[in-house]
């Protein structure tokens, strides 16, 4: 079944704020095997000009995923998640996320289009602190394999 194109522009907000912690940053840095001290050592982070340890550039995917998940399970979107692969991902940073940040994500369905037999769904998440400071925008393009082909039947 094809995606419901009427949902272009629909917005999903984080159900609750996400608190960035030193422990989670360390866990994430360990998982990607990145030994950079600014992810683990507060003194190293301060020496680099930050107030606490910072998160790796792809860490915001954790925050963006919440909004993405709400879209993916939105029954009105009619998305078959078993046919989804990740096509593109990008981030635009105002600054890195850092320990102590409490952030929320506002995710918008920014594009839906067909490409051959697939459909491409683009979700754009603005991640900001609860104080209103923009930190990063994550743009996530999902490819729904065979979605357009099924729509023709």
């Amino acid at each position: 079944m094809a995606i419901n194109h009427d949902l272009l522009g629909r917005v999903y907000e984080s159900p609750e704020p996400y608190e960035v912690t030193r422990g989670k940053i360390r866990e994430f840095a360990d998982a990607i095997r990145d030994p950079n001290p600014v992810y683990r050592d507060t003194a190293a982070a301060k020496a680099a000009g930050y107030t606490d340890v910072i998160a790796p550039p792809t860490f915001p995917v954790i925050v963006g995923t919440e909004g993405m998940h709400q879209a993916v399970v939105d029954p009105e979107l009619r998305l078959d998640f078993s046919m989804v692969v990740h096509g593109d991902q990008s981030f635009r940073y105002s600054r890195p996320l850092q320990a102590g940040d409490v952030v929320t994500a506002v995710t918008r369905i920014s594009q839906i289009r067909a490409l051959g037999r697939s459909e491409m769904l683009t979700l754009e998440s603005d991640v900001s602190t609860v104080e209103g400071e923009h930190v990063v925008t994550a743009v996530n393009m999902l490819v729904v394999r065979g979605g357009a082909e099924k729509a023709e039947k």
Partner: protein
């Protein structure tokens, strides 16, 4: 924020040192936990094959993180990254053995911009396939 690379010292074509990052099943399990992405195609061979994949594949975001290390290791300060975007052109297939797979990442400065910013074009390969294409990072140098 202090990047270790000076804007004046790079030019279009300056290459970043190529890096090879190993990826094994354990890495994918650990990344699943750290990221919260438990999609079974990243750790369950039976499920991966049932949806037409050759085997378990790495999370695209894991591959993106490894490729990003090429840039953050080069500049030293991960906070110097202004933009980072990738296109997933093929999956990183991770067999269930002691060696797993390798992600080989290369990059070169493709553009110098104002405000000490440069664009680094990034390519990643695994098992003979280009797994990231048309990917780039914008970084602010010292």
């Amino acid at each position: 924020m202090t990047a270790n690379v000076r804007y004046a010292d790079v030019e279009v074509g300056t290459e970043l040192p190529e890096q090879t990052y190993p990826v094994r099943r354990l890495d994918l399990v650990r990344y699943a936990g750290a990221s919260g992405d438990f999609n079974e195609i990243h750790w369950n061979e039976r499920v991966a094959k049932s949806v037409g994949l050759p085997d378990v594949i790495a999370h695209g975001m894991f591959t993106m993180a490894e490729a990003g290390r090429l840039v953050t290791d080069w500049v030293g300060d991960p906070g110097a990254v202004v933009e980072y975007g990738v296109r997933f052109s093929a999956p990183v297939v991770v067999p269930d053995d002691d060696n797993g797979a390798e992600i080989v990442v290369s990059g070169a400065v493709s553009e110098k911009r104002d405000d000490n910013q440069v664009v680094v074009a990034i390519t990643a390969r695994s098992g003979g396939a280009k797994v990231l294409a048309r990917s780039s990072a914008v970084v602010r140098l010292a």
